[in-house]
């Protein structure tokens, strides 16, 4: 997850194409720490702003595997160790019927890890973010596209602002408030 520090510049764009182009140009100018905000997933953004692979699939695999083992274990513990019942001489450790609840456990565990893993990886729920202080940011969930770029420490001038303005930003302003 890219966590932007305090000194960032936020540019507002009217279209997804303008945002994509701005990401490319800003990266070409040597800036790497940036985040986009858009009302929907912009196709092509993955290529324009590559990110490391998500850890979610591995989390989900681990969750599913753990839950499957746990579900099978509970059944063995309950029906073999704690409360064995002899019904018509059938084995108390009955692998075939145990598969059913094991599978359900697997799916449940994996789904819980998928959902909560997704939240944890994104740091959600977190109701306050400095980007929400930006004027007009309400439209990021509607029809406007925002690009926040961290101001380089060694070049505090207006070069970045001017670059963003030249890329067709509707508005360019600093991010305010505690990160």
């Amino acid at each position: 997850v890219i966590t932007l520090r305090r000194h960032s510049v936020v540019a507002e764009f009217a279209s997804a194409d303008a945002l994509l182009e701005a990401v490319r140009q800003v990266r070409a100018a040597g800036h790497e720490r940036m985040e986009t905000y858009s009302p929907y997933e912009v196709p092509g953004l993955d290529d324009a702003l590559p990110r490391p692979p998500s850890r979610l699939p591995k989390l989900v695999f681990a969750g599913g595997a753990l839950a499957a083992l746990g579900a099978y274990g509970v059944q063995v513990y309950a029906n073999v160790i704690r409360y064995p019942q002899n019904a018509g001489g059938r084995p108390t450790h009955a692998a075939a019927p145990f598969v059913i609840s094991t599978f359900e456990g697997l799916v449940l565990g994996a789904a819980l890890f998928a959902f909560f893993g997704f939240l944890v990886l994104l740091g959600l729920p977190r109701l306050y973010r400095p980007i929400f202080n930006v004027d007009g940011f309400d439209r990021a969930s509607r029809d406007r596209f925002f690009l926040a770029v961290e101001r380089p420490r060694l070049a505090p001038g207006r070069a970045l602002d001017e670059l963003l303005e030249s890329l067709g930003a509707v508005d360019v302003r600093p991010m305010k408030g505690k990160p």
């Binding site: 979610l56 309950a78 029906n79 059913i100 789904a111 509607r142 029809d143």
Partner: protein, 483 residues
Amino acid sequence: VSARTAQAHVNAGTDTVFPDTTVTVSSTFPRAIEAGSASSGGLLLRVESDGALTDRLLAPLRAQPRGWRAAFLVSLAGTLVFVVAAVYTMLTGIGVWGNNVPVAWGFAIVNFVWWIGIGHAGTFLSAFLLLMDQRWRSSINRVAEAMTLFALVNAGLFPILHLGRPWFAYWLIPYPSSLDVWPQFKSTLPWDFAAITTYVIVSVLFWYAGLLPDLATARDAHTGRRRIVYGVLALGWSGAGEQWRQHRIALLLLAGLATPLVISVHSIVSLDFAIAQLPGWHSTIFPPYFVAGAIYSGLAMVLVILLPVRRLYGLQTVITARHFDNIAKLMLVLGWVLLYCYALEIFLAWYSGVPFERYTYLSARPVGPWAVLFWAMILLNLATPQLFWSRRFRSDGRVLFGAGIAILIGMWLERFIIVVTSQARDFLPASWAGFTPTVVDWALLGGSIGLFTLLFLLFLRFVPPVPIAELKHMQRELLEEGG
């Protein structure tokens, strides 16, 4: 209920099933859903700016179409009927139902299987089609998944009531208690419990995860108390690129989990029957047969819900003839799968040479005491979908709505035939019995429909029924492709 409410607002000269309302965009529906309809038609009929699309899809949160309040009151009355019947059952015992020995399962299990089957189509339309990269799921997946959730609420209530002492339902959870008694995992009841619980939780997670961006949109479009409520529910969604990426991955993973899950759930429901020895139940074809029937009945419910919702909320440009055409074609296919299952079941009973199986399939069902219901089931389930060979019928709202109702009734009858005839006519004629449902049985069935529509109306009131961000994304992709 939506249709019934709509009936109260019939305008002279318009159709009686879907009369005009204030928010309606197109008046050509339902005779032909729109001009140039059917398979050639698009998924979006109008290119709109992202802002206009957002406003239109958020509109249901601000104002409800005429008839919402009346439908709500009718549903509330239905829900009260359910509550009264359920409380009466709990206080008195399930002897107030028509169940007897040998027909120990009765309406409770018929309704349970019917409702949970209806739920399956929602997961099918959202999860299967997401994995298959089918774009037409975009506009309808939220309504379909909401249908799943509310059908599951009903499906969960019936077996719990059927326990007789529902306040002990938690005994199904394996936990170390002072009783030192544990669930028996070789029995079907804990399987049902595991399957239904998992299905409910996964459906809620999948639905909520898909909803997050739209809750943020609702947050940003409101002020005051609503902004706070939607804001808390949106969990701080900002639309960051990283969020969108993880969101897509999470939804794909959840869809990949929900797809085998939904197949397992109705398979497990079918094992309740197939594990037993009763003629008419003890059959290896049951899991696929039940899964096909489940999705089939659920698609019928999707039609019955989607047609009035689309009309009353003016969603004609985003839920188009193409969607209905696709659903109708799916139903035609599933109708034939069901026909194959019915035929194979009867053939296997005859071919097995087992006299009890032969008696059940060749005498008890087709000419026994419930023969009328059996033939009604055959007619409703197998003849109705044949209408969908015709493109004209696939794009006629009234035909689709009527077919949906017919198949819902037919599928309820199927479960009735399976549950009741096999128990009432088992091995020994000495143990045969009849089955007569009581007023309480009917009240619970009718009331559960009221509860379902009540929950659905609340959903329409508080949640954007069409995924907003997903449609904007789809519109962009379609425009990029020059569609």
